[in-house]
């Protein structure tokens, strides 16, 4: 039986179950290694839990878009860009056709997903602060963007993301 029975998308539900299984087994074994490895296991757990959170919020948003409870705003899309004049190697004057198109819900990133969930009252402003904290922790997977040596991830960090995940499950399943 799925741990996400409320999710009506078969592929997503299967992927969520796989991710949660991965998370759960990693938690069970994470403490059996030296400090650095245990911390790395915890970081993997955080990244995977964040992806579960992101997927659940996106699923909720998609449902609301589908039932037209939410209408995403439009944005300019540029087509047929042509160079009209080369100023120098790093500057050009260009011409293009632009068209107003609705944003695609499947292409939203985590930060936009959280903001839209606040805007459409799926989560509260207060809770979004915790979601952004999870997002920032998740983003630490980009090693190239880190300006300092990676810190140690603790059991407290895990309990924080699990608490957020539990709350997200409760919010999106109702």
């Amino acid at each position: 039986m799925s741990d996400f029975p409320f999710v009506d998308d078969d592929a997503l539900r299967a992927n969520l179950d796989t991710a949660l299984r991965h998370v759960t087994e990693l938690v069970a074994i994470a403490d059996n290694y030296d400090r650095i490895l245990s911390s790395s296991f915890r970081k993997t757990i955080i990244i995977n839990t964040a992806s579960i959170i992101e997927a659940l919020l996106l699923w909720r948003l998609k449902k609301k878009v589908k039932t037209k409870e939410i209408e995403l705003s439009e944005e300019w899309k540029f087509y047929d860009v042509k160079i009209l004049h080369k100023i120098n190697v790093s500057e050009q004057v260009v011409g293009a056709k632009r068209k107003r198109e609705k944003k695609q819900v499947s292409k939203l990133d985590f930060v936009r997903i959280i903001d839209l969930c606040v805007k459409h009252k799926i989560v509260t402003e207060q809770f979004s602060k915790e979601l952004h904290k999870v997002r920032e922790l998740r983003n630490r997977l980009h090693l190239g963007g880190l300006e300092e040596v990676e810190r140690e991830y603790t059991k407290r960090d895990l309990n924080f993301v699990f608490g957020v995940a539990e709350r997200v499950i409760s919010v999106v399943s109702n």
């Binding site: 029975p5 539900r13 179950d17 949660l20 299984r21 938690v27 069970a28 059996n32 309990n159």
Partner: protein, 60 residues
């Protein structure tokens, strides 16, 4: 069609829920000794280790 029913193994028995997994299975799978009874469920183990939220998620 929604597939929210409990999955069955090839033998026709129900696959256990995630939290019902025995610690012995995890120990065998990863070659680790978790220092508890092997028939303890993963959910109980997580709860005892202080991961209440995660254990709760596996309960639903």
């Amino acid at each position: 069609m929604k597939n929210t029913k409990r999955a069955r193994t090839k033998k026709g028995t129900y696959t256990p829920k995630r939290g019902d997994t025995k610690i012995g299975t995890i120990e065998k799978k990863y070659g680790v000794d978790l220092g508890v009874r092997s028939d303890m469920t993963l959910r109980t183990y997580l709860k005892e280790k202080g991961y209440t939220s995660l254990a709760k998620m596996l309960k639903k």
